[in-house]
Structures are given as structure tokens and as C-alpha cells.
Symmetry: C2
Subunit: 537 residues, 2 copies
């Protein structure tokens, strides 16, 4: 085997290893293999599972790396983020193919997701370089005032090593080198990832890409580790470790709340950013329904079946007023849904939960099955489904509001606009809330908007909530239970804020001040000086 082939193999071969600092480690606490959800067969190789010793070592390394990593220059840190993106691309098609096998997601989707993952890393490189996240603030000394004012300067510093829990539904963009990891690295935090058990091979390939980037950038090896281990014990141990300063999680409400509780019970509690559960209500206002019901029906069904409905922003609830326009909309939606093929879900567990959920929903009092997609007997294939219920019943039965992860949605039939508003006021906190509104609906939309603002992190007009842009203005967050902390977003530039806290430097001599706060603004970052914002200098 020639050297270049060997080197390619080291990028692409899945060996069942974790990454702990500079080490490639086979866990010694049992074995597990990934499962192909389409074929329900196990995929080689076996992965050694981690134990307390591995958690201990990853956290000790992260702590050891923190002080040097948090004081890397903006250029160094940005180059590291970009290098991770380059290293992920360098893996090539092997990464996509392993992810396809482990998740059942199609090639185009995973190639798109890989692009999104790399763009996310590159966006955070820009965010780091721009330096707004430092929140540099200077208040001049006022020695002649009574009492005198000291020289006060503020910058933000990172919270400490961050524990990241990979999500099942985005094996690249919300997993090992996804949004939580990228934003934590951008903030200056070392990261310990607990990989999602459903895609360990994908996780290994990406973790080794990050490991190569750490080495290539000359950073302390402890900046990054990735652990593989099923069950909650390892996760709880990681969140309990005194060296961990914050937690990023995307997954179920039960899983997220378990971590929130563990973090709150620590001797020193830490923040947990858990993105959990959302049914993303879509309000169809009468004008929009009359004007473009059939087109909207197709858009709705496309959105709810996208990726087998396995998005946090899947439109699980649609609210509209009963009448001929809704009947026409529903007929069209039913036809569109009937044409949708069954789609493979991510894991047998998710598939079983979906099957149980639709069965329960179909049998709930007052719920009518409107349409079903095509069925399939193969593997984890799920059949899309559309249900309907009267607003009165929806408002009185809280179980109808539980997230049903998969390609199913519930139509809430209202008698009038008042019913619609009651539904808006009734629902729990959401990642998104959507209104379809024609110009004739704007007066009502203006009244509904403040209600929905209090319920959701993102308000979508005349679109569908799936598709979360990675940009400066994105908010992927929202009131409980959609997340555990509505003050933050887990997607977009502001995700960096989750891992920072302010520190004030009072009368600190120039030679001891951080660069961000020194005279002459050597970093060339925006600074607030005596209450005035200065873009440079």
C-alpha cells in the first residue's frame, strides 16, 4: 500500500474508536455496533464503549487545555474552525456513505448537511474574527468626580469546557462538529462530545477530522474529545464533572430535562442549553386559505414529510377555520400525502415511538384520521399521516400537544378567529410559529403576532418552518419546553453567546489587560467607550 493510499484510509476507515485528546481509544466497557435502519442489520465494526475512566481523562484534558485555548488569538481560533471544515471535506464520500448507512438519510440530504456543517464552522470563524462577541466596553476613570470613578473595562470570557450531546436527526450539523461544538469552540471552550449512539461511525470520522485540525493548528490536545457510550450513565457523569462549565444538547424532552436536573444538582450548577420539543404551529388565516389554499396544501405536506418528518421544526400542528376553503385545502393535502412514499426513520427506537404515537393519536377522542401516506413493510419505514380535531377538543386535551417526532400532523379546526387565538394562547413554548396571511389578514395577524411572539423563538410568514438558516439573525430556540433556556439560540451567530460571561477589569495596568481592552484597540474590534459605540479604533 503506498503512502497516499494509507493516508486516505486513515481519513476514511471506521475502526470503532473514540477520540480522547490526541489519542484514538477503544472503549473497554462493552461493545456495540450501529444499526442500518433500512435493513435492520448491524454495521461493522463494533465500537468499544466508554467508562468512567474515559470521561475522567477527557475532562482532565479539557481543563488542562482551557487556559491556553481561551487565550488563542482571534486569527488562531478562526483558522482552527476553518481547518475543521477543511478536514471534514477531506474525508470525502466515505463520510456521506457511512452516514447514509447509519441514518437512512439520502445522499443529497447528507451532502447538503455536510455543506451546512462546514458553512457553520466558517460563519463562526467570521464571528470570532469580527470580535463583537467580546463585548469590549470601556468606562474612563473620572479621578476628579466625587467619589472618583475607577477605570472600568469589560470583556466576555468563555465559561469553561463544554459537554455536547450529538443529536440523532442531524448526524453532521448537530452532532460531533455541529452547531454546539462550533459555537463553543468559537467562544474559547474546549469540547467533550458524547456521540449519539445511532451514528458512531459518522461520529468517529468527524471526530478524527477535528483531532487532525487540533494537531494541525498546534493547539493543546485537550481542546477536543469524543466519547462513545450508550445509555444515560455516561452522559450524567459528564454533566456532573466539576470541570465541565456548560452543556449543549439536542434531543427529547425527557433526555434534556434529565441533564437539566443533573446540572442543577451539582455543587456548582451550570447552564444547560437543551433543545427539546416543539410542534411548530402553523396558523392559516382565512385570506391566505382562500387565495392559495391548494398551493399551501402541497407546501405543508412537503414540509411535514421532509426527512421523514424528523426535524425539530416539523409543522406538527395546523390551525384553520372550518369552511369550504379548509375543505378544499384538506382535500389537496390528503391527495399530496397519499402520494408520499414511506420513508426510513433514523433508528428502530424512533420508528417504534412514531408508530406508537400515531396509533395513540388516531385513537384519541375526537381525532379523525384524514389521510395516510404510502406504507412499506421494510425496516424503519414510516407512513406519513394527517389528523384532524375540533379546536374545542384540542383545547381540553393536553396530550394532543405532545411532540410526535415524525411525518404526522394534526389539523385543528376552529369556528372563528377567536378560536384561533385561543389555540395560540393555549400552546406551549415553541421553536417556531407560522402565519399564512394575505394582505386582507393583516389586521388579524397584527393581533395574533404578540401572542405568538411570547410563544416562539422564530415567527415565519407565508412559509414553512423547516429549513433553519445559519446566519446572524436566526433564532433556533424558544420558550420552554422547546428549549430549557429561551434566552439563547443553538443555530446562527448568536449561539456563541451561550458559552460566555462578562468580566470587569478595574484599574488593571495596561500590560496586564487583555488585548481586547488595551489602549489603541489592537484587535480593531467594535468597542463601547463611555456609552458610545465605536466600530473601529
Amino acid at each position: 500500500m503506498d503512502a497516499s493510499k494509507e493516508s486516505t484510509m486513515s481519513l476514511t476507515e471506521v475502526r470503532g474508536e473514540m477520540v480522547i485528546g490526541a489519542g484514538k481509544v477503544v472503549g473497554r466497557h462493552g461493545q456495540a455496533r450501529a444499526v442500518d435502519p433500512a435493513l435492520l442489520t448491524e454495521i461493522e465494526p463494533p465500537f468499544g464503549q466508554c467508562g468512567p475512566d474515559d470521561v475522567e481523562r477527557a475532562c482532565a484534558l479539557a481543563e488542562a487545555a482551557f487556559d491556553s485555548y481561551r487565550e488563542t488569538t482571534l486569527a488562531q481560533r478562526a483558522a482552527f474552525l476553518e481547518r475543521i471544515a477543511d478536514e471534514i471535506m477531506a474525508i470525502g464520500p466515505a463520510l456521506i456513505e457511512r452516514a447514509m448507512q447509519e441514518t437512512g438519510l439520502p445522499r443529497a440530504r447528507l451532502e447538503g448537511e455536510r455543506g451546512r456543517t462546514c458553512n457553520q464552522l466558517r460563519l463562526f470563524a467570521q464571528v470570532v474574527r469580527a470580535g463583537r462577541w467580546l463585548a469590549a466596553t470601556l468606562d474612563s476613570a473620572l479621578p476628579d468626580r466625587t467619589p472618583p470613578r475607577a477605570d472600568l473595562r469589560l470583556r466576555k470570557i468563555p465559561l469553561g469546557p463544554v459537554a455536547v450531546f450529538g443529536a440523532s436527526n442531524f448526524p453532521l450539523a448537530f452532532s460531533v462538529a455541529g452547531g454546539d461544538t462550533a459555537s463553543a469552540f468559537a467562544a474559547g471552550c474546549p469540547v467533550v462530545v458524547k456521540a449519539h449512539a445511532a451514528h458512531p461511525g459518522t461520529s468517529e470520522l468527524v471526530a478524527k477530522a477535528v483531532q487532525r485540525a487540533v494537531a494541525a493548528c498546534g493547539l493543546h490536545e485537550g481542546v477536543f474529545s469524543m466519547l462513545i457510550g450508550a445509555g444515560r450513565t455516561i452522559g450524567q457523569m459528564l454533566v456532573s464533572d466539576p470541570r465541565i462549565g456548560a452543556v449543549g444538547f439536542t434531543g427529547s424532552r425527557a433526555g434534556g430535562m434529565a441533564l437539566v436536573r443533573t446540572a442543577a444538582e451539582r455543587p456548582v450548577p451550570i447552564p444547560v442549553y437543551a433543545e427539546m420539543s416543539s410542534i411548530n404551529p402553523v396558523f392559516m388565516l382565512p385570506g391566505a386559505l382562500a387565495r392559495s389554499g391548494p398551493a399551501l396544501a402541497q407546501g405543508y405536506v412537503d414540509s411535514l414529510t421532509l426527512g421523514a418528518g424528523q426535524f425539530c421544526t416539523n409543522p406538527g400542528l395546523l390551525i384553520a377555520i372550518a369552511g369550504p376553503d379548509l375543505d378544499a385545502f384538506l382535500a389537496q393535502a390528503a391527495a399530496a400525502l397519499n402520494a408520499k412514499p414511506a420513508a426510513t426513520m433514523l433508528t428502530p427506537g424512533i420508528h417504534q415511538a412514531y408508530a406508537a404515537g400515531v396509533e395513540q393519536l388516531a385513537q384519541a377522542a375526537g381525532v379523525v384520521t384524514l389521510a395516510e401516506g404510502q406504507s412499506s413493510s421494510g425496516g424503519c419505514a414510516a407512513r406519513a399521516a394527517l389528523y384532524q380535531v375540533e379546536a374545542e377538543i384540542f383545547l381540553s386535551d393536553p396530550t394532543l400537544e405532545a411532540e410526535l417526532f415524525g411525518p404526522a400532523s394534526l389539523i385543528v379546526r376552529c369556528r372563528d378567529l377567536d378560536d384561533m387565538r385561543r389555540v395560540a394562547q393555549h400552546v406551549e413554548g415553541q421553536l417556531t410559529a407560522t402565519m399564512h396571511a394575505a394582505p386582507s389578514d393583516h389586521a388579524y395577524a397584527a393581533a395574533l403576532l404578540p401572542v405568538l411572539e411570547r410563544k416562539a423563538g422564530r415567527l415565519v410568514f407565508n412559509g414553512f418552518p423547516t429549513g433553519v438558516e445559519v446566519s446572524h439573525a436566526m433564532v433556533h430556540g424558544g420558550p420552554f419546553p422547546s428549549t430549557s433556556d429561551s434566552r439563547s439560540t443553538s443555530v446562527g451567530a448568536n449561539a456563541i453567546e451561550r458559552f460566555l460571561r462578562p468580566v470587569c477589569y478595574q484599574d488593571v495596568p495596561e500590560d496586564l489587560l487583555p488585548l481586547a481592552l488595551q489602549a489603541g484597540n489592537p484587535l480593531g474590534i467594535p468597542r463601547l467607550i463611555d456609552g458610545e459605540l465605536h466600530i473601529a479604533g
Copy 2:
């Protein structure tokens, strides 16, 4: 009585009333009087205590006021904050005199604190007008991109009605119209205050000033209420109310953690900003000790006895290396302390806790009493005290690290710089950490600084931690247990951030967009547009 006299009386007379919306209410759940801590006598009049019905009404009003208050213009909200300051000043000397009687604090201190309280309100008026808190962010639509990008705009909105718990030690600046209330109002949140039981009369006078400001500015009456009731039940009820969206608290660790737990156990958890416990270590580096030990000794003793030591930033711990310079410093400090008169503490409860605390500290193994201030047999007068312990013992006995609220401090004697660093690494989270450093100490200070950055929210050089400036760069916050949320500050302009969360508006039509996000920047606020910061327009 002529009309102007009657009107003055209505500003200055303490009647034993709460403020609930536009109402002046005498609680019907028992009575209590304030206690003069100097004389240990009760002060008239009795205050009717609130019950569940009062909490219910205050929260219902706050919720009813929220939507209109949160959409007041920047100018309206700023004018409201300024009007509160004017109304507080209009009360005149009666406010100071009532506060003196209820707290034992001297006139000059309370006049200064009133000034600080009003400056704080005025600072937040400026903060509101400047509009940076809105974090307005616009990402342009990219319709030709594959996939197309929607138009995305972000602003911050307030969390909802805020429950504020007045502190005992700042009856004006951290009580009814103090920093928590001012920053919550600035963010757009109605406020329900639970007054501190030690100064109900001061609280009533200030609450009625706020009530007048609400009326004068034409705001919904529910924007502000103030409840009076001792014990924890009412506080827990308030924090449990589903209409409350966040909590501000300054007080003891036990009290703060009780609220944190209550908030976490709600069906919808909410953030609690509890400023709790800090011993504010002061590190005396060898060069500074050699250069100006005696002057520093006086400054240290002045700082620790200021306001009977009843500051969150009181220097409760001083760390230095044993030797002749420290001996000279201690001799000077002891002399300065011996000259300090006994000072009246805020309440009999605080006084008793201090007396018990110093007794326990004096008897702890390895602790030596170095000096005591003058004693007094009167009322709640407390005697200052200085103790000493070897670093080795301090590091092995966690009880020596407990906050002792009052004019006492513990000197930790180190053998060398290494010992000093071990103490720095050992201490819990703090509001402040101080270094006294001569130029010859800078190399060591540079090594100690990253350790202290991780322990404290404010790093003070060559000064003392008491005296918390209200400005843009101030951080009055820090790692647990100094606060429950190190990501925030409770003093200074950034305190507004605690009560906000981001919302993204996707493809929202211009006529439905909030002003902050409309074309042409009608508010003239800084906005981040496609990743570039624009200061105006």
C-alpha cells in the same frame, strides 16, 4: 390643611400600605412593624401583611400590563424611568429619615444611595433610548441562492413580568426601585416587588413614587406592584406564579437557592438572578506589601468596616505572604481596626448572625484573633474583627470560606507565591477578586490573573472591592455561589440583558414588523446588517 400641604403629606406619610397597581392596599393577613435597629424599638405604623389574594392580583395586573408596556416607545419608556427618579427626589428628606430609622444607616450614606438609585434609573433611560439592547439584526433575503434564503430579522423582547426581592443592605439602590426593578422596566417587563421586611416604610414611600410615575406617564397600572409580607411563603408563591417570567434577588445563599429551586420546579421553569454570597478575596502581592503596606492596611480596614461591613463586596479574605512586611501591615491594620467604633447593623437577625459567626470563627481550629474594633452595648451595634489563619489550615477547612456578613475579615498567611495561587484556585466563585501589585509583582500577577478571572466577575487592581460603579462596563455578578447565573450582572447597563430573549422574524411583511426592524431604521438604532455593524441608518 391647604392643598399643597395635603399633597406633600401624601408623598411623605407612611401608612402601612402596599401598592397593587393603582391601588393602595392594607394587607389583611396579619400585621408587622419595622424595628429600629439602633434602639430595638418598633416603628409605627403597623403594616398589613399580604396574602395569596394580593399576589394573585399583582400578578394578574402585571400580565395585563405586559403587552402594552413592552411595546411602549423608547422615548416613553425612558421618560418613565426618569419620572421615577424625579418622584423619588420629590419625597424629600422624609424618605431619608424613614430609611435611617429602619436601617440604622447614616444620613450621608442614604443620601448618596438615593443619588445612586436615581442615577441608575437615568442610566437605564439612556440605555433604553440608545436601543443597543434590541440587538436589531437583519439578514437580507437571497432569493436566487440554492436553496433561497428568507428575509430574517432579529430583535430582543422582554421575558414577561419580573418578581423582584428587595435587599436589606441597600434600602434604596437594591430595593423597590433599585437595580433589578430599573433594568426590568428598561427591558419592558412589569415588576412585582416583594419588599424587604426590614424597611417597609422606605419601601412604601418609594413604591408610591413609582405608582405616581406610572400614572403620570399614562401606563397600564399593572406595570408595578409592591407587596409587603414576611416569611418565605409569599415569595415562593410569587416565584411560582405562572405569569412571572424571571426573578431578581439579592440576599443570602439559602434564600437565593430556595427561589432557584422553586423556579426550577415550576411546570415552566424561569430564570432566577440571585446575587448571594461572596467573600471577595484580596491578594496582597509582595512588592505592593513592601511598597505601601501601611497605607493599604488603612484602606483595607476602611473598606471592610464601611457600612458595618454590610456590602456584598466586603473584603472578607486577605491573602499575603508571611514576613516582616505582613507583620507591619497587620500591626497597622490592627491599630486602624481598634479605632473603629461599633456600627449599627441593619436588623437584629443580621446582628445575631454576625455575632454567632465571629464567635464560631474565633474558635475555629487554627484561627487567631488579631484585632477587634470598639464594642458597644447598644442595639444592633457590631464590633469589627480581624482574624488570621495559616494557608494550610484555610485550604483544609471549607467552613472558613463561608460568607460572614458584617465587618470581619480573615487574613490567610501564605508561605510563598505558590501558597497564594493554591488559595486562589481553592476559593469558590466571587463577585470580586482584588490584587494589590507593584510593578515588580506584574509577572506573578499575570500568572494569577487567569486563575482569578475564572473565579470572579470583577477583578480589582490596587483598590478595594467596595464601591460598585453604575456604568456600562461594571459587572456585579460572578461564578456560583456569588450568583446563581454568572452570565449576567445585576449592576450597570448590562443588567437589562437578564430580562430579554431574541425573536427572529422570517419574511414578516413591513407593516407587521416591529419598528426596530423596519426599513429605513426609524428608531435610528445600531443594527447588524448582513454581518456588518451599522451605527445609524
